[in-house]
Symmetry: C2
Subunit: 755 residues, 2 copies
Amino acid sequence: MADFDDIGISAAVNLLSALAFLIAFAIFRLQPINDRVYFPKWYLKGLRVSPTRPKRSVTKFVNLDFRMYLRFLKWIPEALRMPEPELIEHAGLDSVAYIRIYLLGLKIFIPIMALAFAVLLPVNWTGKMLDTSHGLTFGTIDKLSISNVPPGSNRFWAHVLVAYACTFWTCYMLYKEYQIVTTLRLEFIASADRRPDQFTVLVRNVPPDADESVSEHVEHFFCVNHADHYLLHQVVYNANKLASLVDKKKSLGNWLVYYQNKYERKPSRKPTIKTGLWGLWGNRVDAIDYYTKEIDKLSEQEAAEREKVISDPEAILPAAFVSFKSRWGAAVCAQTQQSSNPTLWLTEWAPEPSDVYWNNLAIPYVELNIRRLLMAVALFFLIFFFMVPITFVQSVANIDGIEKVFPFLKELVEKDSVKSFIQGYLPGIILKIFLILIPMVIMLMSKIEGFTSFSSLERRSAAKYHLFILVNVFLGSIIAGTAFQNLDKFLKQSATDIPRTIGVSIPMKATFFITYVMVDGWAGVAAEVLRIVPLVLFHIKNSVLVKTEQDRDEAMDPGFLDFPTYEPRIQLYFLLGLVYCVVTPILLPFIIVFFAFAYLVFRHQIINVYDRKYESAAAFWPGVHRRIIIGLVISHLLLVGLLSTKDVKTCTPFLVALPVLTIWFHFVCKGRFESAFTRFPLEEAMKKDTLERATDPTLNIRTYLRDAYLHPVFKGGEVYVRPPMDEEEGLPLVSTKRSQRSSKVTSRATSEASV
Amino acid sequence: MADFDDIGISAAVNLLSALAFLIAFAIFRLQPINDRVYFPKWYLKGLRVSPTRPKRSVTKFVNLDFRMYLRFLKWIPEALRMPEPELIEHAGLDSVAYIRIYLLGLKIFIPIMALAFAVLLPVNWTGKMLDTSHGLTFGTIDKLSISNVPPGSNRFWAHVLVAYACTFWTCYMLYKEYQIVTTLRLEFIASADRRPDQFTVLVRNVPPDADESVSEHVEHFFCVNHADHYLLHQVVYNANKLASLVDKKKSLGNWLVYYQNKYERKPSRKPTIKTGLWGLWGNRVDAIDYYTKEIDKLSEQEAAEREKVISDPEAILPAAFVSFKSRWGAAVCAQTQQSSNPTLWLTEWAPEPSDVYWNNLAIPYVELNIRRLLMAVALFFLIFFFMVPITFVQSVANIDGIEKVFPFLKELVEKDSVKSFIQGYLPGIILKIFLILIPMVIMLMSKIEGFTSFSSLERRSAAKYHLFILVNVFLGSIIAGTAFQNLDKFLKQSATDIPRTIGVSIPMKATFFITYVMVDGWAGVAAEVLRIVPLVLFHIKNSVLVKTEQDRDEAMDPGFLDFPTYEPRIQLYFLLGLVYCVVTPILLPFIIVFFAFAYLVFRHQIINVYDRKYESAAAFWPGVHRRIIIGLVISHLLLVGLLSTKDVKTCTPFLVALPVLTIWFHFVCKGRFESAFTRFPLEEAMKKDTLERATDPTLNIRTYLRDAYLHPVFKGGEVYVRPPMDEEEGLPLVSTKRSQRSSKVTSRATSEASV
């Protein structure tokens, strides 16, 4: 069995790669040429510009100030220095709440580790079960785990008590954190500037009307039922075709720029291309002429399509963004049922304009139901049939398996160092490779399900991906490793035996998961900070596409906090920590190191790198909370399963109360906090309305809201640019000019209440 | 094994008793003396008065018109004659929706029976499995059941197809019925007269305020946050002590009347009582004097308490009934969140004044959570530890058990008729006895859980009782009967084997359940129509308490439709029908007879007998729907379990899709219809408001609402009397005078908005 030696090698490999990443990062980030890769956020905010041209041209690319290299770890205190309120203002509450998840991990597991090390390690170590048994050799880790306690021993009471202590501590911290995040959210919303979504409600499933257009129908309905509050509405166009034309034009424009640059550098030879498939065959023509013509053609098509969308009543979807005169009016409309048929006139808070996922606005109610059923079935198959390859690959990728399949490798793998490497490193990497594609598939499934905002898509994807990780990474690794030899027997086992089987396997899998934490956690996070892919892409774009500063701004890819991929992975660490804190506490330090390191790195990233796609004010927190609770309940069930094989029947009833209390705790928290994340209290709305009336009595809210919810293709053919957070910065808004231009187009479409 | 002979005897016994009940009913109901027992509803509505005194005094008590006896079945067409809209007006939508459950049973099971008889009976009968096996004797019922099909036979495809057909038919009927009930509800609400609860919202968990009283705090909060709509509010007094004084006084009053009547009949002897415990010892005093004095004393106490409650700020609970100027304003307030702390200022629709459960209005949020946890645990113990006595008694009460415990009875029980009787009749009676006490316990538990209206208490109790019946009657009967001999083995079985075990036992239990349907269903319903207990009680009261017509009105006990007890029992019949329609279709006719008979009887009862405690406009229907869906899913799981023992692996995957589709169907229905039962659409509210402004422009809504939500003890010391449905009847409302009287008392407490 794996032991400290294997772990040692694995830890060394991972630490070395993590360290290599970090050193590379420390060096790269100091080079001016990489400035836009490692500090894109400051460029986006306009607080940093390309370094002024120095005397010697080499320092434009390479930093030759060696004193700076001496302080290459300076980014760490820098990342920690910015206080939280400033960070919220700088990066938004979503990002801050996200890094608080890591902090929550530290808050939960550091005290738990102290307790477990103080109580359980001595209890396990002196258990002496494994010294005497069956002639097998056991590693040090096993001797520190619950496996070393003989069946029927009273020592198990220590584990039960620690399980209680851990559960209470975890719940306490969860409650505190939920409270803090709720407060932050409410403060954030209360202090937020005027935003269109505060006044606007998304109305879907507008029923067809024989006599009226959608726009008239919406207007009449809200004039009648919200007479005192309705202001105006914006119909939704089916502009998907138009958007794809715009995208295509943009891509052709990139190629045009590429060939123009090429020509400028080598004016001797005009660049040519073949017009056939992928440029592989067809007539050879002048590239610049070709793309210019193509773009002109597309521009015409685009203009025609634009005209068609606006004039064709068929292109208007049965949905609308309805704006109200006050936040109170919008809050009322978003929270109430409008029609006696609850599938018509569905109202919900409008997402931020940049958060709207336009493609899904038109799905009718019945179709939504069918889509959800199909996606639930698809998710089931994705989760349960994905196990087959993982199980297969992992079972092959052990020493015995490799020797059996590739006998010629036998001598190589029998070497001690190679053996340790394979045992320690390979299973984690295999898992990792399989996991890279899944988030995209899951996001696609969420889109098919029909959610109307990016933030809700991401929340749903995170929930799906969490299930996936739970079954395939956590359960899959535990069951497949031990049960592969007797798969046949396993299929015939009844479903309730599975918790017991898993529980029994838990202690044996500690080594594997320690390795996993190091590969996925430590090295993965270190790779995150290095940003290899954006680094390479930026330099490619920079060399072939960029001519002006604005081009360089566009070539810059700040990236986003990939919540639906990252968050479920953090949940796996929570789950591992909660499961192993009683069984094999030696795993906890590895997890704590992960949380601390990841906290550091992501704090740095949200300060310097990531852009925001949208701001949902930590709307994902209820999901985070729920998933930690799920982890807690799983840890209880597995502990019950494990102890049921240890001949300690007296302990089990005490443990059964734990999941019940935990689930109850979940409902208490849900009742206490969740509505702060889904509803907007009238008291707050009224406060902000009153305040605004007092401070800005001349505000013309109608002008402010008129074009807020226009499809982005009508805003000058580009994706809507989020205005910067604080308006005091006084930057000229990129979108202002555009929206003026487009307001002519849309003045026909925007109806106004005659009240 | 039991057979048609046993069933025959059982059916005969039950039919005879049912018939006896019916004949008794047919005779009793014609006697003028019983008129108030069998037609109390008409008395309550003032449409029937005590028969005018005829010439011969005997006809005052006995009906001597023998022609009427010839038409003793006339009540059946009479019960069916009243059309549904009139019935809704006469008895309310709750009652009508309730009898629609029976109708739904008929609609579901008659076509299913036709299909199952046409397809499955021939398939089973020609299966010939049981003819050849093991030398055991099998009854005709078993030969008509799925047990007669040999394992591995392709005939099971017929069962799978019928299961699909039944499921789709059931879902289709459920959908139609949900649609009908929703429409009825919306029409009922739309056509309803002005009622206080349409304008009123119950606000709970008003936060304490150092500077203001509860009343001021409520007023200020709603004046600010619902400035345009707030009208007035009514604080809630903690009047539980006062209410108990009032009750005590009323009971003493009854005794006083009793002794006064006794004295009038025998003026020779003044009645005396002993003042000690239960009248068993103590000084012997004059009864009339004693009770008069006691009542005087209590009246003083009551007056003092009344003054104290009204003047003491401590007696005001942190809850209030807040009324709005329009239904729209109330609908908005009821559906939105008021404060950023979702545990404060909780708003919900106010129940009807007669529906308020006053005792629970003051429970704070945290305590509610703890109460619910405790009651969930208590329910678990009630359900799972109640099985012990049932299992024990039933296992004793079979032929072998009786012979073992009472050897001297051996000769008696070996007689064929006695044996059949015991086998057919006894288990059902035993079950029945055990089940009588449970609903009261469950209602108590619901009250502890803290619901604020009788209707929600009853809905919650029904849900709990349904679980109880599911586990103890349905599962308990199936498992205990077959598994008692090998209980030891059973305890060690894993939880997933249980569906299979149950599935296997299902066909063997058909006889038992046929008996159960006859005892509980047929005879039970017949006993319902006879109203033995109210009959006896009325005559006792009539002879000792009644002097005036008004006394007689009070002695009359119309009873209520006991929804939380009856509805879960109907669900058992749905479950039995759905489970057995594939396994033993011969059970279906018994269930159909039950549904038809019960429909008839309850339609008669709601027309002639039952009073309404409250009117919730069929708010219970989502629960009814959900529980039928639960039954459907259980039937699928058991069929899968049963077929898994029949060596037909190819069928099983087809069956697994059924529960998934059914659950999906449930969510579709939930999304489509449920909100009509929980929310009040703004469109409807606005319509009614507009209509009312047009038809009744001079209405003073403030006067109308002022005393609507006063605690009943302030309304003249009696429980609030529900005003009759249609105000056109022009009856003087009993409560009018009282509320005038009490308005003086409460004018201090009712605050009015200064807006």
